[in-house]
């Protein structure tokens, strides 16, 4: 038998499950890690957490952002008192295949939508095996960055199945520092990098000028991608725009995930190497039943995957319109120090998103968000009915890493139903 993951001491007090969802015919195997709520798992909600990339493991969310422990320089767990399983059970899922501990013996998944059906199957089987977590508890999907593509698709997939067929209910979705409406969001790299996002400019005036000069061509390529949604127009859009709009900032050596910092190491955070080392320890792989011999936090092969490059610029915000019109609560939150999925772009697309109460949403005042754990003015919030945009002060791309108390306040308030 594989050992109990509890032996690792990540969260010794709670029940945990790890394992794989196997898609036999396609030789795809998705790794997951479940932690029960530290509070009251029989009543607390369940959250599925997805990281983006594309090609980054959700175990980065576990060990670097919001999970029960982080990994320190001694390559040992450090207890996280602000873990998101304080008042909810949390599932971390590595997808698409060849991300983290997930794998495929053959060529991998090349676009997001194919993974949607697998995620639905995973949830069906998980809650069939563990009905004690779907006996009245609510279920939310949360994620960040490229999960801004995944989550609207996965939620649409789930809601496309009749309620009576499902072994679980979807209560809401949360997208943090996401990429969901590139046509709107790509106009906000220049303002964010050039002093209009709340931090001083990190580029010279002529570089800002250069970004503005290339923007019309970039937007016209994205528009072609929106119209055709064909890989032939979408791949050039992502290559052209990412070079033209992100290139100047990247050349400064600044951390694309936090405009206040320099980029250190392959993923811009030197501390991230500790969790890589930890997840490659045999004792860890044996305790969780990992079936790959090498763990990487981000698989750049996938990030350079040609079809995902085409996926990048597709209009996934259209799926958000449908979710909102079906009444599903949607939270778009953004740490305001991130460049690569910055708060200006996320605020902008939230404001222009067409849905049945779009005008009323636009007319709502932007209020101070008071964190329920610290009592601080921790950001700005705008809400109408089931749609909320939240700017979080002092957060980078990975808000729970920079603002752990306020991130926990946000998720606890949200899953309790305080959508405003």
């Amino acid at each position: 038998k594989i050992k109990d993951p509890k032996v690792l001491g990540i969260d010794p007090g709670v029940k945990q499950y790890t394992g794989y969802l196997d898609v036999e015919e396609e030789d795809k195997h998705f790794f997951y890690w479940f932690f029960e709520s530290r509070n009251d798992p029989k009543n607390d909600p369940v959250i599925l957490w997805l990281n983006g990339g594309p090609g980054c493991s959700s175990l980065t969310g576990l060990f670097f952002e919001l999970g029960p422990s982080s990994i320190g320089p001694e390559i040992k767990p450090i207890y996280n008192p602000h873990s998101w399983n304080s008042n909810a059970s949390v599932i971390f899922l590595d997808q698409p295949v060849n991300v983290g501990y997930s794998y495929s013996g053959s060529g991998g998944v090349s676009n997001t939508v194919a993974a949607g059906k697998d995620v639905y199957a995973f949830l069906q089987l998980f809650f069939k095996q563990f009905p004690e977590y779907a006996s009245g508890q609510e279920f939310h999907i949360a994620g960040e960055s490229y999960a801004g593509h995944y989550i609207p698709v996965f939620a649409t997939e789930i809601l496309s199945h009749p309620q009576e067929e499902r072994s679980f209910n979807l209560t809401s979705v949360l997208i943090g520092n996401g990429l969901t409406d590139p046509l709107t969001q790509y106009s906000y790299y220049e303002p964010m990098a050039c002093g209009e996002g709340g931090e001083p400019s990190v580029l010279e005036p002529e570089e800002c000028e250069g970004m503005l000069d290339t923007l019309p061509r970039c937007l016209s390529l994205i528009e072609s991608c929106y119209e055709s949604e064909s890989v032939w127009t979408c791949v050039p859009a992502s290559i052209y725009c990412n070079n033209a709009q992100m290139g100047p900032y990247q050349k400064t050596g600044k951390n694309v995930y936090d405009i206040r910092k320099e980029c250190q190491g392959e993923l811009c955070y030197a501390e991230m190497k500790y969790m890589d080392e930890y997840l490659n320890l045999d004792v860890v792989k044996q305790a969780v039943g990992a079936e790959v011999d090498n763990y990487e936090s981000c698989n750049f092969n996938i990030n350079r995957n040609f079809l995902l490059a085409g996926d990048w610029m597709k209009p996934y915000h259209k799926a958000v319109t449908n979710l909102l019109n079906q009444g599903l609560p949607v939270l778009i939150y953004a740490g305001d120090k991130d460049f690569i999925c910055n708060w200006l772009g996320n605020e902008a697309w939230s404001n222009v998103l067409p849905w049945k109460h779009a005008e009323k949403f636009q007319d709502q005042p932007v209020k101070n968000w008071i964190s329920s754990t610290t009592g601080d003015k921790a950001g700005k919030v705008k809400n109408y009915e089931n749609f909320t945009f939240l700017r979080i002060y002092g957060g980078g791309h990975m808000v729970p890493f920079d603002q752990p108390e306020n991130a926990l306040a946000m998720v606890n308030d949200w899953v309790k139903g305080s959508y405003n």
Binding site: A121, V231, V235, Y240, G289, N305
Partner: protein, 86 residues
């Protein structure tokens, strides 16, 4: 550069076409001239990124899969999917 460009574009488009299993004619039918030109330009403007494009995701190196008997639960109630639980 323009000569190189054409080869670059063709190479890249051919690689993409092969990845999608399309014939030459299917490609010409589905990709307007204007877009073929953009692909050529892309190869010239961003040779590194276009050269790095991966057309299939390479499978993970070594896999040591564990038999169902080593897992605490194995759930097979979904047609093509199986859940293994530790």
């Amino acid at each position: 550069a323009s000569l190189q460009n054409v080869f670059q574009a063709n190479t890249l488009l051919d690689k993409a076409r092969n990845a999608l299993g399309l014939s030459e004619q299917q490609l010409l039918d589905s990709v307007p001239k204007s877009i073929q030109k953009v692909w050529g330009e892309m190869g010239m403007l961003f040779p590194k990124e276009t050269a790095e494009l991966e057309f299939i995701t390479k499978p993970k190196s070594k896999i040591n899969s564990k038999p169902d008997s080593q897992w605490d639960f194995v759930v097979q109630e979904h047609p093509e999917h199986k859940l293994r639980v530790n």
